[in-house]
Symmetry: C2
Subunit: 359 residues, 2 copies
């Protein structure tokens, strides 16, 4: 029996150093470390500074921790939207962000496009407080090009631009002059156990939250943004956080820095290229997203039609575990994460197996 | 160098089986397990059912997971309070619960008493939607007797009774006919790494949250109570949760069930008794809480006066790590957790050391 390789898009394959870091964490007492200790502060600092270095976040952005990216959706709406946000919806997760704004009694607007297809250019967007973009739609494998994201500051410089990069970071190279807030969760591209969200914000976000509070609007309690930011200055958190999660993230970021972000991005491109090619050349399989400009490099969705369960069983028999299609696509799609935890060799094995698949 | 024993009141000493469970978790792929898998559902079920058995929670209560007890404070106010809650405030943590209600733009009321002292009997409490009780005030070591909690249903049967048992469970024996919701976090009495809160609710909580939503009041988004409960029926969670945390909690609960809750409670009583006695008989130390009816069994606060730092250094030189005094008590208190993770032998060593302390 070969060791299983987990290609599910999150929780996914663990980054290969995680178990060692966990062992060291226990040796060093991290699981029972006080979050008000100097040691915790240095862990927070190392994690935040490492992340800034890894994905090129400018100094004037601040990194705070939540329990999930789902929580960040809620906190963004609570803290940054008084009346209305505008959501670009092209799948289940971008839709969920929109619905969260509804649940919080805002009046969100949306630009919707068919699953698997590109949005047209921003154009004449109605004025809004916040533009919500799901850079990588995990349900369908559609990725918004960074150039598409960057255009919003041209058409609506006053709006805050919020980017969900849950299942793509650390791969994309963002232009931080064009976005105001960015977030992800650690169980995807960072190959860690679930239970931690990372929220990156600039001073405009802080000012907006403070302005709402001044107006008497509730911006939440223990995780309101000004409170999170005030403690982040001291490398602290309002509540007892997932200390172990923050520690492990910091360690994996150090590993990624040693490997180099350029190498990680190049390998991601390589793995995506050979996999999309295998799908395109296969007699009965094809990529779900056919427009190459928006094909996600990090979550690749195969349209397997009537062969879905057969292919899934076949891959699993080889120890290769694909993710199921999302929602209504369950019976015709398989999803494959292409994260830094997935080695070139593992993708070559996956590609060989796909090529050898003859239904 | 003797191994360090962590008496801080949370994060605290790990339950002695946690590292083994973590190792097995990695062997079994738990850190990258999908939260939509059957395996996750069975983990959720085992954890919830084990907890019900351990602390005698009736079947009609439901257990849901949050990221912290701090989050539960927020969710309780959002879901169960339209206008006003009434808080019994006797220290930093009960005060924080009250302040969270303020931050969420409710109009909370409070009954306040001096730190270290008992509340008088409920008496003529103004009508309120929810009574917020901090059963064990971690900052001062004051514990509300269960009989005090039970009286609220007599004076105000319509109000929901919410009990924060963050730093006392699994020790107290609650009467679940007298409370509507109870919560804790895992890094205290359960001896686990931080990053998970446990929220136990009955049907009256669900009905209240639904009534608020029907009125058009926002009850939050991904963690609103009806949403949490709907998924809990399927042993699922709205977001990708701290899967590893839920798994470890379930395993430690099984260990506690094997040891038996009666044994755990008896040992807690024994350890508390010898420690309070040592404090009472010491020439320069004394318990901060002098009223025996409200002395916490699980967080014991020593009033060390001018000897605080000397005692702290002395204990640490023996590998015994006390918690600092909370807030303004930093220079005169030391706090000692008495959780199931702390063995009788460890407490006997602590008591011997206290007795031998001659400033």
């Amino acid at each position: 029996m070969k060791p299983a390789i987990n290609f599910t898009p999150g929780p996914s394959q663990l980054f290969f150093t995680v178990e060692d870091h966990m062992r060291k964490a226990f040796r060093d007492g991290i699981p029972s470390l006080s979050h008000r200790s100097k040691t915790f502060e240095s862990i927070y600092k190392e994690t935040a500074e490492g992340l800034k270095e890894l994905i090129g976040i400018p100094e004037h952005f601040t990194i705070v921790f939540t329990s999930s990216a789902t929580e960040v959706w809620e906190r963004i709406i609570e803290n940054l939207v008084e009346d209305s946000s505008h959501h670009f919806v092209n799948g289940a997760f971008s839709k969920r962000f929109y619905e969260i704004a509804q649940q919080l009694n805002r009046n969100p607007q949306k630009t919707e496009t068919k699953e698997g297809f590109a949005f047209s250019k921003p154009g004449a967007l109605p004025a809004t407080e916040l533009i919500a973009l799901t850079q990588n739609e995990t349900s369908t494998g559609v990725s918004l090009p960074v150039s598409f994201i960057n255009d919003f500051k041209l058409v609506q410089p006053e709006a805050l631009v919020a980017v969900d990069a849950v299942s793509s970071l650390p791969y994309p190279e963002f232009d931080f002059t064009k976005i105001d807030t960015l977030f992800f969760s650690v169980q995807k591209g960072f190959g860690l156990p679930a239970g931690l969200g990372v929220w990156i914000v600039n001073h405009r976000c802080k000012e907006k939250a403070e302005a709402l509070r001044t107006k008497g609007i509730s911006i939440g309690s223990y995780h309101n943004l000004p409170g999170l930011l005030e403690l982040a200055q001291k490398n602290q958190t309002p509540e007892t956080p997932n200390v172990l999660g923050i520690y492990l993230l910091g360690k994996v970021i150090q590993d990624m820095l040693r490997r180099g972000i350029t190498t990680i991005r190049r390998e991601t491109d390589y793995k995506a290229a050979i996999f999309y090619q295998a799908l395109e050349q296969h007699p009965v399989l094809k990529p779900f997203v056919t427009d190459r400009a928006i094909q996600s490099k990090t979550v690749i969705v195969a349209d397997c039609g009537e062969y879905t369960s057969q292919l899934s069983d076949y891959l699993q028999s080889k120890g290769l575990f694909p993710g199921e299609g999302y929602g209504s696509f369950k019976k015709q799609h398989l999803r494959f994460a292409n994260f830094p935890a997935h080695s070139k060799e593992q993708f070559e094995l996956l590609v060989d197996s796909i090529e050898a698949f003859k239904p």
